[in-house]
Amino acid sequence: MKFAVLVYEGPYNHEASDSAYNFIKAALKKGHEIRGIFFYHDGVYNVTKLMEPPQDDRHIANRWSELGALGIDIVACIAAAKRRGIVDDVLVPNVRISGLGQLTMMAIEADRMVTFGD
C-alpha cells in the first residue's frame, strides 16, 4: 500500500518526529511504499544539517536524510520553511524544499496519509 506521512512538529521538542520515523521504518519493513514525507509548520526544522545533538542521542536530520537516500521523496514546505529560517543552504542531503502542491499530490495519490503533530 502507498503511504504518505505528514509531520507538523520540530525535532526533539515533540515526539511527533520520532513517531513518524518509527512508523515509516515499520512500514518499509512490511513492504509498503512511502509516497512521500512532507514537513509542515515547525516540522520544517527536522531537516537542518546544523543540528548537533549530544553524541549519545539520535541525530534526527540524518535519519531523514538516510530515508531520502532510499529514494523516498522528502519535502519541507517552502512557505513554512522561509518564515522559520530553513533554506536550501542548511538542508541535509536527500531532502528538498517545495510548495504545498507537493502535499496536495501526496494527499491525492497516497492510499493513506498519516499525520504526526502536537
Binding site: 509542515y40 504545498l100 502542491g101 502535499l103 496536495t104 494527499a107 491525492i108 497516497a110 496519509m113
Partner: protein, 132 residues
Amino acid sequence: MAEVKKIMFTVRKAPHGSIYVYEGLEVKLIMAAYDADISVVFMDDGVFALQKGQNTKALGIKGFEATYGALVDYEISKIYVDRESLLSRGMTEADLLVIGEDEESEEPLHPQVVDADFIANLMAQQHNILCF
C-alpha cells in the same frame, strides 16, 4: 478517468494562539486549485476561527478573516460547523463569518451547522483527512 478524491480538513484548534489555523488555511487555498472534492469541518476550538469581527492589529500578527470570507471564491463550499462545539462556546450561526455569496441570489453564504453524526458519516467517506 480516475475518480475525484474526497479530501477533508478538520479544524480543531483556536486561532492566533498558534499558527496552525493560519497555515492550515494556506493549504486549503492551494489544494482547492487541484482536482479534489474538498470539505472543511470546524469543531472544538476550531469554531473560534469562524468568529466574526476578529481584529489582530493590537497583537501585531496577521489576521485571516478576509481570506475565510472568500472561501467560496476558491470553490470551497462544503464548509461545516459542529453544532455542539458552537453552542458550548456560547456562539450561534449569527456569530459566524460569511464565507462568500451565492452566485445566483447573491445572498451571503454561511457555513452549515451540522450534528456530530453527519460529520462522523462524512469522515467515513473520505479518501484522506487532514487535521489543521
